[in-house]
Point group: C2
Chain length 348, copies 2
C-alpha cells in the first residue's frame, strides 16, 4: 500500500513523520484533490489529511485517509504541532517560507527529503492507473483527428487548438494536459510553439502537440503534417524522425535504461547527419504530471519496468525552415512496449 511505503521510509530514517503538500502527491496518497490543497501527515502509526474547511465535505467523500479540517493557518499549525514532528520528511519542492513556518510554528528541527520514495512509487503505474491513462490517450486521439481535419491554408493556429480543446472537453477531459501546440511554418522549428494567431499557409510544416487531462492523468502526443504537397526536404526529415521514433519505441522494454531509449532514437537522427537539430531529450514519464519520471535522456539511467509510462518524441528543428516531431505515449509491458496513442503516423 502506498502509505505503507512512507511508513517504511519513516522507520528507516527514524523520522517523527512525513508531511505531503504537493497536489499530485496528495491525490496519489489520499484519492482526494481539494482545489485549495491540503496537508497529509503520516506518522509511524497514523495518517491524517487536513484540508481547508471549504473543502471538507468533498474531501471526506473521496479520501481514503481520515480527514479533518482547519479554519485558518493558526488552526492548521496547532493541529500539526500536536503530532510533535521534530524530525520531518518533506517534499523537496516545499517552499522556503513553509519550511520557516514549520520550524517556527510546529517546532520542526530537521528536514529529510522524501522525493525518491514517491518517485519510485509513482513511476510504476498500476493496471487501474494505466486504464485511466489509456482513456486520456483516447481523447488525445480524438483531438488529433479534429486537428488533421482542421489544419488547412488560411486557418489560424489558435482556431485549430480551440476546436481540438472543445473536442477534448466534450469527450470527458477535465482540461488540456498542457497548452496545445499548433506550430506552423517557421514556428514549427520552435519546440514550444504554443498555438498563436499565425495563419497557416500552403506548404507549411505544422507540428501539433497535445494531450488531455482525464481523471487526474495526462496523455501526450505529437503529429506533424504538411499543408498541401510536401517538398523533398520536408519528406526527408519526416522519414528520419519517424524512423527514430520507431527505433525508440522498439528499444523500450523492461531491463533497458531510459537512456538506452534516448540513444536508440538519437542515433538514427545522428546517422542521417541531423544530430545538431535534435535539441531536446527523447521523452519523459507521464502520469499525474505531464512531465514526470523517468526522463528519457542521456542523463537518466532508470531501468525500465512494466507499468512505466513514457513518451517517445524525437524531432528535428531547422531554424527558419521548420520542424518535425512525432510522439506517442507508451506503456512498458512484460516484454516490450505498447503505444497508447494510436493516431496513424504515416502522414507525409
Amino acid at each position: 500500500m502506498r502509505i505503507e511505503k512512507l511508513k517504511e521510509f519513516i522507520a528507516e530514517k527514524e523520522l517523527d513523520g512525513v508531511l505531503i503538500t504537493y497536489k499530485p502527491n496528495l491525490f496519489y496518497f489520499t484519492g482526494s484533490a481539494p482545489v485549495l490543497g491540503g496537508y497529509l501527515v503520516v506518522t509511524p502509526d497514523e495518517e491524517l489529511f487536513l484540508v481547508p474547511q471549504l473543502e471538507y465535505e468533498e474531501a471526506k467523500e473521496s479520501s481514503r485517509v481520515p480527514v479533518e479540517y482547519f479554519k485558518k493557518g493558526a488552526d492548521l499549525y496547532e493541529k500539526l504541532k500536536g503530532f510533535n514532528l521534530k524530525k520531518l520528511g518533506i517534499e523537496g519542492r516545499t517552499s522556503y517560507s513553509s519550511v520557516q513556518n514549520l520550524r517556527e510554528k510546529i517546532g520542526a528541527e530537521e528536514f529529510t527529503i522524501v522525493d525518491d520514495v514517491i518517485k519510485e512509487l509513482r513511476m510504476v503505474k498500476t493496471p487501474e492507473e494505466i486504464e485511466v491513462i489509456k482513456q486520456a490517450c483516447r481523447i488525445a486521439d480524438l483531438a488529433m483527428e479534429t486537428a488533421l481535419e482542421e489544419v488547412r491554408e488560411g486557418v489560424k493556429e489558435r482556431e485549430v487548438a480551440a476546436k481540438m480543446e472543445y473536442v477534448m472537453k466534450m469527450n470527458g477531459a477535465e482540461k488540456v494536459a498542457f497548452d496545445t501546440i499548433v506550430a506552423s511554418g517557421w514556428r514549427s522549428a520552435l519546440p514550444h510553439g504554443i498555438a498563436s494567431d499565425k495563419v497557416i499557409e500552403k506548404g507549411d510544416l505544422v507540428v501539433i502537440d497535445e494531450g488531455a487531462l482525464f481523471n487526474h492523468y495526462h496523455s501526450d502526443m505529437t503529429r506533424t503534417v504538411v499543408v498541401g504537397l510536401p517538398n523533398e526536404k520536408q519528406k526527408e526529415i519526416y522519414e528520419i524522425v519517424l524512423e527514430a521514433q520507431k527505433e525508440g519505441i522498439k528499444a523500450a522494454k523492461p531491463g533497458v535504461t531510459a537512456k538506452d531509449v534516448d540513444t536508440a532514437a538519437r542515433n538514427v537522427i545522428a546517422e542521417y547527419g541531423y544530430g545538431d537539430y535534435f535539441i531536446h531529450s527523447t521523452g519523459h514519464g507521464v502520469g499525474l504530471e505531464i512531465h514526470e519520471w523517468p526522463g528519457v535522456s542521456q542523463y537518466d539511467e532508470t531501468v525500465l519496468k512494466p507499468g512505466m509510462v513514457i513518451t517517445v518524441e524525437p524531432g528535428i528543428y531547422i531554424p527558419k525552415f521548420g520542424g518535425v516531431r512525432i510522439e506517442d505515449t507508451i506503456v512498458i509491458t512484460e516484454n516490450g512496449a505498447e503505444r497508447l496513442t494510436k493516431t496513424e503516423r504515416e502522414l507525409i
Copy 2:
C-alpha cells in the same frame, strides 16, 4: 522602474543580489515568459536573465533584460556562482531543494525573502496592465454570453464549459484563467463546483464562474441563473447576494482597506440572517495570477489605491438547496471603482 525597486531593496538590506524564479515574477520583471522558466539575477549594478538553451531565441526577442542561456544545471550554477551571491534575496516560494542547491553549489549563506517588494509593485497596475486586463474581461463577458445561451434543461455542465472555453480561445484567450465552474442544482452550493458530467435540470440554480487568460493577465467573473422560473427562496437569496455585491463595489475606493470592502458585502448578508452561509472571503486581487493581492477579507488591511484590481464576489451557499454567487473584476479609480466585467447582473 521595476528592477530599480529590487535594487533599492538590495541596497537597504545590504544584499549581494536577488534571484527571481517564479514565472509570473519573471514575466513582470523581464517581459519574457519562457515555457521552461528561467533565473533572473539582479545585483547592485547588473541584471541578467538566464534561460535554458531551448528558450534562448524567444527570450532574446522579448526580454527587456540581457539574456544568456545555460545548457545544464551545472552550467547554470557555474554562472550564478560568478555573481558571488552570499547574501541573497529570494522568493518565499523558492523550494527547499533549490535553497539547498544555492547553498551547496553557489555558496549562498544567508537568505532574505523579497516577496513584499514584489507584492507592493505588482499590486498596483499600470495603465498598460489595466488595458490588458480589460481585454481579458471582455473575453470573459463573451464567454458568459455563451453560457447564458447554453445553460438549459438536459445539457451537461461540462458541455456548457466546453462551449465557453471555445469562445474564449476563438476570441484571443491563451487559455482559461482557471477551471471553469458550472455548478448546477445541489452542486451550486459547492463554492468550487468545477463543471462536471451532471445534467442541468429544470429549477436548478446554476453558478457560472469563469475567466480568461489574455497576454498573461487574468479576468474573473461569476453569474448565477435559474433554469426556468425561480422559486421564492431562490429569488430571496439572489437579491441579497446582488445587494451585497453592489455594496461591496460601492465601498471600494482609494483610502479604504480591503477589509472594509469585505465588511460592506458581509454585513448585507449577515443582516438578512445568512451570515453563516457566506463561507469565503469577498474577493481577491487579479493580475498575472488569478489569486493575488490584496485579499478582500477580514484579514487583509491593505489600503486600496488607484490601479489595484480586485474581485467582489459574495455568495450564499445552502447545502443541498444550492448557492448564488455574483462576481465582477473591478479596478480602483481616483474616486471609486469601475467594473471591468460588464455582463448584466439582473438575471433572476
